[in-house]
Subunit: 324 residues, 2 copies
């Protein structure tokens, strides 16, 4: 544990996974809003450089620790107003090969967080859920009221299990929760996902881009910046016991189009885009997701970027970060 | 492990929690249908006497083992056609005091079952979920399509988490599942629940019956016999990838009325029924549940008993079992 600073009496926000992709954007936004922030991260996919620009800020604490270590958890709760629980395995595909990662890093980690909160008297939790919980929804765009939800990936299962734990802690122990069902979130510092993969593939072979599936997979994409703005907007604006919202832009983009955008932004010439075929990229990949975000919009939130803009922006930033 | 008999090549049904309340009724029904049955139970709430009437039946194997022991799990999968996964902590209230029981005996146990199935090539699972997953639903009677589901008890959370794991194993590893969202199931051999509690209270004090809450809690009740019939009916009749149904009678009964019925069946005179007050019996108790069972009925299933009959029948049987 590094850089732990204590100033009791002043409320602080805890961000689990705060050194990760979305987590580090949330830390940026919280700091911008004048908040004190404590980050808990095990740096399995998070990176120290994602928070390097806060290294001189005495209001940003970084604690290296794991959500499966109960001792760390009770320590980090001191003085916390709201827990922003973003830590999780970020790689949906991993579940097809290793089946206990999402259970441990997702479901059990969320249980540990809730228990540490309960024991420390912290009662507010904001949680990054996912559109993956809907599985192959029969209604699109899919509203929050859709049911029954049947996740088809182990990642989606762990997100739904975490939602359930959170609502149970609200119902049984008086917690208050904001549950955000994320579209695909993209942006600078991305550590996984389709744009990230495409750039790495082009780095390995600038002549050929292999796309898993037939490229017709179509999903909602939202910029990380819009995503964390929406999260904080909801915490500010809605105040039920459980506040559960889809977070997205309202439109979709196909994987085929993403491949084209990444190739355009790469400035590479004569890239051959090749498809492995089939409707999904891997077992557990949902071919089409489209989130109904009217409920979010009804709170007055408007995203700055639509899916294609968010993707292009991300491609540009990640090409810069990864190098081609 | 006791009484393990192997006859490879002949399909068998595995019932986890098969010595428990509903599990033992399911074993009875499977045996009646001419099936070979293997029971796995840790006898934490299940009882050997619930299966005593099968002790001479060579087609009923009883294995004492825990779902948290991976070694036992891989052994019991041999030759299994369908896993009927009923094992769980049966006491919803326990979650208010001990928070990891439902996580371990529910969510993690289901994960262990699914993994053992995957490794052994067993692909069919029938799972006892619960109306507790709906929490305090805003639509009643509540259909399977209701969302978002927000369980308020730790038990409900573990059932929803287990559903999610099961649909993920269907989506990722080609499993087939029947998920049964039970109303309150009552009947002979009940080991917990409101009727069981009332009889024990009357046994301790035949003059006074204390009812938790104001007695206005109102729920759907179904007889254990109808419940296991419905489960087997669905496995027989519906054949999607994931088959998810509410199981209940379509009517409800109040806790106040249950108290009256139990007192009537007790033959005790001048019992004073007293209410502790408040809309719920305990934190996490859902004051009113009413399941929409049209989807079940559309498959041709008709329960033999409505809620009040099931309750009266149960009161009579449990008074006989427990003694007054």
């Amino acid at each position: 544990m590094a850089q732990r600073r204590e100033e009791s009496g002043i409320a602080m926000e805890l961000v689990t996974g705060g050194a990760g992709f979305i987590g580090s954007h949330l830390v940026d936004a919280l700091v911008k809003n004048g908040k004190k922030v404590r980050v808990l991260d095990n740096f399995s996919s998070g990176r120290k450089e994602f928070l390097a620009h806060h290294s001189d800020n005495p209001y940003v604490e970084i604690i290296e620790g794991d959500l499966l270590d109960p001792e760390v958890l009770s320590l980090v709760m001191e003085g916390i107003e709201t827990v922003h629980h973003l830590a999780a395995n970020p790689d949906i595909r991993l579940g097809t090969e290793v089946t206990d990662t999402d259970l441990k890093q997702g479901t059990v980690a969320t249980y540990n967080i809730l228990e540490a909160m309960r024991k420390s008297g912290v009662r507010n939790i904001s949680f990054s859920s996912s559109s993956a919980i809907y599985g192959e929804a029969e209604i699109m765009p899919t509203p929050e009221t859709y049911g029954p939800v049947k996740p088809i990936s182990l990642y989606g299962a762990s997100k739904l299990a975490s939602e359930a734990l959170i609502t149970a802690w609200c119902g049984t122990f008086g917690f208050k929760a904001w549950i955000h069902r994320f579209a695909n979130i993209v942006g600078p510092r991305g550590t996984h996902g389709v744009i990230f993969d495409f750039i790495h593939k082009l780095k390995n072979n600038p002549a050929r881009l292999e796309v898993l599936g037939n490229g017709m997979q179509e999903k909602s994409y939202m910029s990380a910046e819009d995503c964390v703005k929406a999260m904080l907007h909801l915490i500010e604006e809605v105040d039920n016991n459980v506040n559960l919202y889809n977070l997205g832009t309202g439109d979709t983009c196909s994987v085929r189009r993403i491949a084209e955008i990444v190739v355009e932004e790469s400035m590479l010439k004569d890239v051959s885009i090749e498809y492995t075929g089939g409707t999904r990229g891997w077992a557990g990949d949902v071919p089409k997701t489209s989130l109904d975000v009217e409920y979010l919009f009804s709170t007055g939130f408007v995203p700055e970027m639509q899916s294609e803009d968010a993707i292009r922006n991300t491609a540009r930033a990640l090409i810069e970060e990864i190098g081609l």
